[in-house]
């Protein structure tokens, strides 16, 4: 059976990150070690049952960890069509073996899928003993995980490289629903930037409080949203936006103590109905718009007190 298992990574067109990854990752990093194997003297109908039970479409035939052949689901179809499903594996397994070695870079496996059109390849160690199998799915999963790690690292680098003495900063942070674990990250990142600028600690706290309350509000009440912060020499402007669901009684939401949060959120110490009131209290300018079905926008401006004389002030 010819299956199109090509992995469309053309070496010459790929980004250096992907090239780096497919040469840095080894086959053993992504292959599956959870082997489903059969013996040469197993009858084909046993192997058919094994395929069904373990949900695989190809089974290596081994003796003492040495690979003798492969039986694919295609071989089973043929056996069923031609009435020899009772016969032994060794008679019908494919002995033309194309194997990969576990220490080869992932790039080799990718080009093998391109070249040979098999759905899977057995992987052997230096002593030619079977140690794993690799499918294009294994490659996808392995690459995706590695890319995820790399992107996280790059995002971190990007965040660190933002010049702190740049006069104007503009940043957007995504806030996810119920993600309390990361709530406060945006606020703390900006706080650090402002501390580096040696602003008045009271102003820094006002910005941090406004941002943290907004982060929590989005995490608790919305389907997710974003915070955009724009900072210049004179002020910080923070805009929180979410797409849904909006607030039914926006006029009540500003009252301290009014809350629509559920019990488990309250048990975490949130949803006391102080968030918007807190934001308004720390802000020099405050705007709030919400409509059911349309989402919510909160805008806060914190103006900085003039820096001390010894600061470099234009």
């Amino acid at each position: 059976m010819i299956i199109d298992k090509n992995i469309p990574i053309k070496m010459e067109e790929s980004t250096s990150l992907i090239l780096d990854l497919i040469y840095r990752l080894k086959i053993k990093d992504v292959m599956s070690r959870n082997l489903v194997v059969a013996l040469p003297e197993d009858p084909l109908d046993h192997i058919k049952a094994l395929m069904k039970q373990r949900n695989v479409t190809g089974i290596p035939i081994v003796k003492k960890d040495r690979l003798l052949g492969i039986l694919s689901i295609d071989d089973i179809f043929k056996a069923l069509d031609n009435g020899y499903i009772q016969e032994l594996a060794e008679k019908h397994m494919s002995k033309k073996l194309v194997m990969l070695e576990e220490d080869m870079p992932l790039a080799f496996a990718i080009s093998y899928f391109d070249k040979f059109k098999y759905g899977r390849f057995p992987v052997v160690d230096k002593n030619n003993l079977l140690v794993g199998m690799i499918t294009s799915r294994d490659i996808n999963v392995g690459l995706l995980m590695a890319i995820n790690k790399e992107v996280a690292r790059m995002e971190e680098l990007l965040a660190q490289n933002t010049p702190v003495d740049a006069q104007n900063i503009r940043k957007t942070f995504r806030i996810r629903k119920y993600d309390f674990e990361h709530a406060g990250n945006a606020s703390n990142r900006i706080k650090k930037l402002l501390v580096d600028r040696k602003l008045d600690p009271r102003d820094i706290r006002r910005v941090a409080v406004a941002m943290y309350e907004m982060e929590i509000n989005i995490a608790v009440h919305s389907e997710g949203g974003s915070l955009t912060v724009a900072i210049d020499n004179d002020q910080a402007e923070i805009i929180a936006k979410d797409a849904a669901p909006g607030i039914e009684h926006p006029e009540l939401a500003l009252q301290e103590g009014y809350s629509t949060a559920n019990e488990w959120i309250k048990s975490l110490g949130f949803g006391a109905g102080m968030g918007l009131a807190n934001i308004r209290r720390v802000s020099d300018e405050f705007e709030f718009q919400s409509a059911l079905g349309k989402g919510t926008v909160v805008r806060s401006v914190v103006r900085f007190k003039r820096k001390k004389e010894n600061e470099d002030d234009h």
Binding site: A183, G184, S187, N188, Y212, E213, M274
Partner: protein
Amino acid sequence: MIIRDLLTCKELVLVQKDFDDAVISGGYTSDLLSDVMAHAAADNVLITIQAHINTVAVAKLVGIRVLLIANDREILEDMVQAAQKEKIAIFRSKLNQFDLSVLVGRLLAEG
């Protein structure tokens, strides 16, 4: 008083040991994190039953250096780790928030 002074209290169990010492000149007792953010001061001990990672986030925001968890509430590992990263001390106690507040008040009065 400094954070180390709390080590002498037999009612307090030190849970997060890797902290930077600091002068404490007051306390704040609350379970509402918005309330803590709005009113607590950096040199306060925070007395609360909120034994989770967001309490550390709020403490970090306010500048609080020490947390006292009342009623012997279970303290999750991610909270301890977050506090360790920020060098914030965490103590746990069987006492309730009122008794803990009285205890801290007494220590503060002793100087």
